[in-house]
């Protein structure tokens, strides 16, 4: 299946891209993030803190579906 992955802030700089389409067999968000760290070795230094699927905050064990938009967020620091 194909998913659309977006990276933010430090993740974007580590990955070197802001978003990409990935053909994946990953079943969960956690498995997909592991796959992304394989594609972008600089991401390996980081532990993702939040994940959103189709603009809803989600759990790492959430099951992915074809066409999902997956957002990886580093720890937030607003205000």
């Amino acid at each position: 299946m194909q998913v659309h992955v977006s990276y933010f802030a430090a993740f974007r700089e580590a990955a070197g891209v802001s978003s990409e389409r990935i053909d994946t067999a990953a079943r969960t968000a956690a498995a997909l993030f592991a796959e992304c760290t394989g594609r972008h070795p600089n991401l390996q230094r980081y532990t993702a803190s939040l994940v959103a699927i189709n603009d809803e905050l989600s759990g790492w064990d959430a099951v992915l579906a074809d066409g999902d938009a997956v957002l990886f967020f580093p720890p937030v620091a607003g205000g």
């Binding site: 802030a9 980081y46 532990t47 905050l57 957002l71 967020f73 580093p74 720890p75 620091a77 607003g78």
Partner: protein, 149 residues
């Protein structure tokens, strides 16, 4: 009544306050977060905020709604900046109007604390020595540091 927004423009604190006036309210509390010239022993020159707006706006409005319900407010509003900010710029502003001051103080504190911990907003500090660093996130690279994910 609640209103939350992200803006790339300078925040006009007077206009923001004028929009909060309500004849049923006896207490109004406003919090401004400013860009400070130092953090953790380093000289800061400017800040950069990256925001994922669709989620930030939805979650920001949720926080204001929680505060209205929990503290019985008449009005609650907040604006958060995106983009490049200079020293003393207003990064975030929160306004809370209520019948009495007690709930206005408490609700304002609740809202700014939730904004800082829940919204998809990231802050990059630019230092006097030429370096720049994403706040909080660069700690991720330290081996002893882990997030509960």
């Amino acid at each position: 009544m609640t209103h939350f927004a992200i803006t790339a423009e300078a925040i006009d604190r007077e206009a923001f306050r004028d929009g909060m006036v309500d004849r049923g309210c006896g207490g109004y509390v406003q919090f401004e977060g400013w860009v400070r010239d130092h953090n953790e022993g380093r000289d800061v020159l400017r800040l950069e905020y990256e925001v994922y707006e669709p989620l930030a706006v939805r979650e920001g409005n949720r926080i204001l709604g929680e505060a209205v319900e929990r503290f019985g407010l008449q009005r609650a509003a907040a604006l958060h900046r995106s983009g490049l900010l200079e020293l003393t710029d207003v990064a975030v502003i929160v306004g809370v109007a209520a019948a009495h001051r007690g709930e206005a103080f408490e609700a304002c504190r609740y809202i700014i604390d939730e904004i800082k911990s829940r919204l998809p907003i990231w802050k990059k500090e630019h230092y006097a020595d030429g370096e720049a660093r994403w706040v909080r996130c660069d700690h991720c690279a330290e081996p002893e540091h882990a997030h509960s994910s």
